[in-house]
Amino acid sequence: MSRSAILPNRGLADRLSALFWRRPRVLLLLLITPPLLWLGVVYLGSLGALLLQSFYSIDEFSGVVVEEFTLKTYGELFRAANMDIILRTLTMSASVTLASAVIGFPVAYFAARFARGRWKAVFYLGIMLPLWSSYLVKVYAWKLILAKEGIITWAADSVGLGFLLDAVLALPGVGGNSLSTSFIGTWLVFVYVWLPYMILPMQASLERVPVSMLEASSDLGATRGQTFRSVILPLAMPGVIAGSIFTFSLTMGDYIIPQIVGTSARFIGQAVYQLQGTAGNIPLAAAFAVVPILIMLVYLSLAKRGGAFDAL
């Protein structure tokens, strides 16, 4: 190589560039250290603090946190009242996930298979905007809708279906005084708020279903229903599972929605919030917060086996 092909060194910037070129690891280290420090110290550190707190206990007389290792706090989770909270939360998460999948599937399928050009953009924005738009505003909107004097009661009465609404509200266990103070109401709001999180991964996996397979299926004499059951659904399953991770996890950790719309029966998130706040029992709050983490770890490992991560 001739000497003239190399430009003269123009100072520090050039020398650093040369160093980064010869030793790419130095640059990598420089790039990744600040974000890793932040996430490692602030986030992982906090998660560690959560675990630590959950092994502490509270002195029942003085209300002071006893900083000694104990499993007593975890033992309290198994009290009947606390088990109720956990089971109620799991039931809600499962039913919200199921409903999101059923309502979301046609939207995802249509967006993936039939929406073209402008409609594709309409569907994309139509799913993205509700996903990103203000969570609290969405919950508030449902407070207005479900109120006893609100639009649903009005609509039901004006088409003469008021008796149907009353019948639904009279259902034991899930009904209530009005929709905004019933489990059905809580469930509806959950479905509404988390639905886009279900649609997006389903759409992603449906877009990867080759049209040729659907054609082959119908060439072989399958009806639409058979094609759906034995071709489309199995291929879309990873997307459904991926979406279910979001809906399940988000429902399990939420405490705003059941606080605003629903009965006084508590969910895990509410228990955590009340215990750390008014009750001042941070150890039990921390132990409660560990429950969703454990459930999600199990859920994620099952989902991984179902191939959900290929669809993300």
């Binding site: 650093l16 790419p24 939207v107 039939f114 659907l214 941070i282």
Partner: protein, 269 residues
């Protein structure tokens, strides 16, 4: 039978019904901001008025939370943009030991329910005796905003062909000049989109914030309090519209900035 080239009527109806279900409820927020009834959520509203906008403007308790929310969102977004871009650059350019674990670590703050992030930070503050302040709110927000910026930046890095950087070096640019004149113009819109989304997310975040704010009140916390103990309900609607609009436009801008993802800069062969 012909393979389905057009959707069945039932599917079309279900798809459009699903989209309407996602959008119609928000419209009620706008309607109720104009109602004359301020004690119940009566539908249809007995009358319409625009006075609540003036009332909201003059309510002194709305402004400090608004400023706090804007400040927190601005600081968190700035921090997330720096940290998210750095980690995206590192993850995009090389494979190294622990790469999978790091990508998991970045996603974790939004993959786990917000109540866990919030409670974790709360536990850490309790153990270390850190008093609540704007900074404690920012710590939570910046953590979950990193992944938003990261997602946008890493996608753009992947599309950016390495050849343009090599060409830049061949033409005599050093690393910093390549960054300034080649990398940044190509990354710009993706970073801006990531920043917009991070801002929108931070501005209306409430779950983590309630754990890290102590007695301070951001605008979403103010709204939450009004939801639990309502007074002058239409005023809450006016604020809800403000929150909605403040998050709506960044989202829309972010969409237009990252649209048409197939044209890879420098990828033409």
């Amino acid at each position: 039978m012909h393979s389905e080239a057009r959707p069945s009527k039932g599917l079309t109806a279900a798809a459009i019904g699903g989209l309407l279900f996602l959008h119609l409820p928000i419209l009620l927020i706008f309607l109720y901001a104009f109602t004359t009834e301020d004690r119940t959520y009566q539908f249809p509203p007995p009358g319409l008025t625009t006075k609540w906008f003036a009332v909201a403007w003059n309510r002194a308790d709305i402004w400090p939370p608004l400023y706090l929310s804007l400040r927190v969102a601005a600081i968190s977004t700035a921090m997330a943009m720096v940290l998210g871009t750095l980690v995206a650059a590192a993850m995009a350019r090389s494979r190294f030991f622990g790469r999978e674990q790091i990508s998991l670590l970045i996603i974790l703050p939004i993959a786990l329910p917000g109540v866990i992030t919030g409670m974790s930070l709360r536990s850490a503050f309790a153990i270390m005796d850190i008093p609540f302040s704007t900074l404690t709110i920012v710590m939570g927000h910046a953590t979950f905003c990193i992944v938003i910026v990261y997602n946008n930046a890493v996608a753009r890095f992947r599309r950016l062909s390495g050849a343009v950087l090599e060409a830049s070096a061949d033409l005599g640019a050093n690393g910093f000049q390549s960054f300034r004149y080649v990398l940044l113009p190509n990354l710009g819109s993706a970073l801006l989109a990531g920043g917009m989304l991070a801002f929108a997310l931070s501005f209306d975040e409430v779950i983590v914030t309630t754990f890290t704010a102590g007695q301070q009140s951001t605008l979403p916390i103010w709204m939450l309090n009004e939801l639990v103990r309502p007074r002058q309900r239409p005023v809450t609607n006016v604020v809800a519209i403000v929150v909605f609009v403040t998050t709506f436009f960044p989202i829309l801008i972010a969409y237009y900035l990252t649209r048409g993802g197939s044209e890879t800069a420098g990828g033409g062969k």
